[in-house]
Symmetry: C2
C-alpha cells in the first residue's frame, strides 16, 4: 500500500538512498534537508518523480518543521550531526542538531497527528560495551561521546512519546554504514589523503581499532523490514554485520582497489579520537529473527565505497 | 577541607537542605535558583551565613550561569523540572529545564574550569524495570516518561563531558524523597486534600502502586559520601531504602498522623498517570558498600513530612 513518508536528512548518504528506494516502490515522499551536509546531486533522481516534494528547512525551525510534516503517514528521522569525532570541539552541536531537532520532529508529528517514527540511532549508545557482540538489552551503558549521549537522549524522548501519546517507533542502532553516497568517515578520509599523496597515509590511533560496517542498501532493507514487521510500541534493533575488521584491513582493501602502496603513519594509541570506541560490534539476532540478513560483506562494502568516490570525486570537494 | 560548592536549585526541597548542611560544616556555597518552584523561606537560615551567596538566575541564561559559577570547586546540580506527572501536558518543559539547563551547567563548568559535578537523576531512568530491586547496571532500559528521558539525557551528557574534558561525576538515581521542605508529590497532594475536606480522599490509580521513599537527610548523606569516597571518572549510585510501601500504606500513616478517617475514592488502574511506574525499587548495594545506610524508615519519613506540612502550611499556598 502506498504511503506518504516524511524523510529528514533526505539529501544525506542514507536519506537519499532511502528516498530513491521509496519512490521506486511507488510511495510518496516529502524530503527535508537543510543542506548543511546533504548533497543536492544525491536528489537528482528523486526530483524527477512527481511524488517527491523537497522542503529545504532546518529542523531547529519548529514552525517550518510542523508545516512540512503536513499529510505524512510516517516519519523516518535520519537528519543529525553524524560526526562523532569532532564532538569535543563544539559540544553544542549534538545537543542542537540531534536532541533538540528530534524534539521538534516529535512535536511536528504530534501537531500533524503522525504517530509512526523510525529513527537512526547508533551503536555508540553502548559506550564501551562489556558484552561483545552487544545485544539491545546490554547492561545500562555509560556514555563516552557527546554524539552517543545525544542519540540516547533522542531514543529516550521517542520512547516517552510512544508512552505518552500513543506513538509507535522503530529505533535502529547502527554500526558505521558504507556504500554509494558515503561522504564522511575513515574511507572518505583515507581516499582523500591518497588522492593528494598516494605514497603516505596518516592513520589516527594504532590501526588496530576493530570496526563493523554495514552496506547502505542492507541498512535500508532492515529499516523498511522492521517498520513493516515489528509491532511493539517501541521496537529497538541493532543493525550490523556478523563480522568485523581492523582499520588496517580496511586500508588494505582501499589500497588494493586504488593500486597504491602508501607508507602508513600511525598517530598511536588504541583510540582514534576522544570518545572513539575501540570496538563496536553488535548482536543482530533480533532483526535477523524478522528475516533480515546483510547481503554485502565489509570488504565489498569498502570496495564499493572506494569505487563510488573514484567515480564521484566532486564529493571530496563538497566536504572540504 | 573547606570547599566552594555551587548548588543549583538551592531554594528547593533537597537543595536548601544541602545548602544548610554545607554551611553548617564550614563550606562556602553559591546557591543558584530561579524561584520558579524554590522557596525563599527555605533560605532564611542560609542567608545569615557570610559564606553563602545567592544568585537569582535561570540556568537557561547561559551567560549568567557562566558568571555565577566563577570560583567554584565543585557543582551539585539539583535544579530541574521535578514533576514527572505532568510531562505530557507540556513536553518541552523537561527538555528545557532538565536537558538544556544541564548542558548550560556543563558549559559553565568548562568556562570556569570546574571539573567535579554531582547530579540528581532518578530511578525513572529504568523505565519499567524487569529486575527488582533494580541495580545500576540493569538491562538497557526503555524510557516511559519524558521526565526520565530528560534525566537520562543529562546523565549521558555528563558522562560524555567526563570523557571529553576530564570531568569527574557522581550521578545519583533517586527514589522519591520525603522529609522537611517537601513541596510536591503524593503526601503533599493528600495533605492538601485532607485539609480542605478531611472526610474524602481522591487517589490516582488503585492505591496499590508500590513506592520506595528516602528521607531527605539520608539522601544528602549519600550525596556527600559518594563525592568524598567514590573515585571513578563516572560514579553512578542508586539511592533508596531497602523497603517499599504501597500508596495505601502511606495514606494510613498520613491519616493516623492527622487523626482523620476519610472515605477513599480511587480513580482506578495500576498507574496514577501516564508514565507512572507501578514499582520503583532500587538495589542500593553500591552506595552501601561505601558505608552508607538510611537511618529513617519510609513510615517515619512520611510522618515527618506530614508534621512539616502541618507546621508550615504556608507551603501549601505557595504551590497553588
Amino acid at each position: 500500500m502506498s504511503k506518504h513518508y516524511i524523510i529528514t536528512g533526505c539529501a544525506g548518504f542514507i536519506g537519499s538512498q532511502l528516498v530513491d528506494r521509496l519512490l521506486a516502490t511507488g510511495h510518496r515522499v516529502t524530503g527535508i534537508d537543510n543542506f548543511s551536509t546533504g548533497q543536492r546531486r544525491f536528489l537528482e533522481g528523486a526530483l524527477s518523480f512527481p511524488n517527491f516534494h523537497l522542503c529545504e528547512i532546518d529542523l531547529l525551525d519548529a514552525a517550518a518543521t510542523q508545516a512540512a510534516f503536513k499529510g505524512g503517514d510516517c516519519v523516518v528521522h535520519l537528519a543529525a550531526n553524524a560526526d562523532v569525532r569532532f564532538g569535543p570541539s563544539h559540544p553544542g552541536r549534538d545537543l542542537h542538531q540531534n536532541t533538540i531537532a528530534t524534539f521538534n520532529v516529535l512535536e511536528a508529528m504530534r501537531a500533524q497527528k503522525i504517530q509512526r517514527i523510525a529513527f537512526s540511532s547508533t551503536g555508540s549508545v553502548y559506550g564501551e560495551a562489556q558484552i561483545i557482540p552487544t545485544p539491545e538489552d546490554a547492561p545500562f551503558p555509560v556514555q563516552t561521546s557527546l554524539y552517543g549521549a545525544s542519540k540516547l537522549a533522542c531514543e529516550g524522548m521517542i520512547a516517552a512519546y510512544c508512552e505518552a501519546y500513543g506513538f509507535q517507533s522503530w529505533i535502529y542502532r547502527f554500526v558505521s554504514i558504507l556504500g554509494e553516497r558515503y561522504t564522511h568517515g575513515h574511507v572518505f578520509d583515507f581516499y582523500r589523503q591518497l588522492k593528494t599523496d598516494p605514497t603516505n597515509l596518516r592513520i589516527l590511533g594504532d590501526g588496530r581499532q576493530r570496526k563493523s560496517y554495514l552496506y547502505v542498501q542492507d541498512c535500508i532493507d532492515a529499516i523498511l523490514l522492521g517498520m513493516n514487521k515489528a509491532t511493539e510500541k517501541v521496537n529497538i534493533f541493532n543493525l550490523g554485520v556478523d563480522d568485523y575488521c581492523e582499520v588496517n584491513d580496511s586500508i588494505d582493501w582501499i589500497c588494493n582497489t586504488l593500486g597504491v602502496q602508501p607508507t602508513r603513519h600511525y598517530t598511536g594509541g588504541s583510540r582514534g579520537w576522544v570518545g572513539d570506541n575501540p570496538f563496536i560490534y553488535l548482536d543482530t539476532q533480533r532483526i535477523r529473527a524478522l528475516g533480515w540478513s546483510p547481503s554485502i560483506s565489509i570488504s565489498l562494502g569498502v570496495i564499493r565505497t572506494v569505487e563510488f568516490l573514484r567515480a564521484n570525486e566532486w564529493v571530496l570537494e563538497s566536504r572540504l
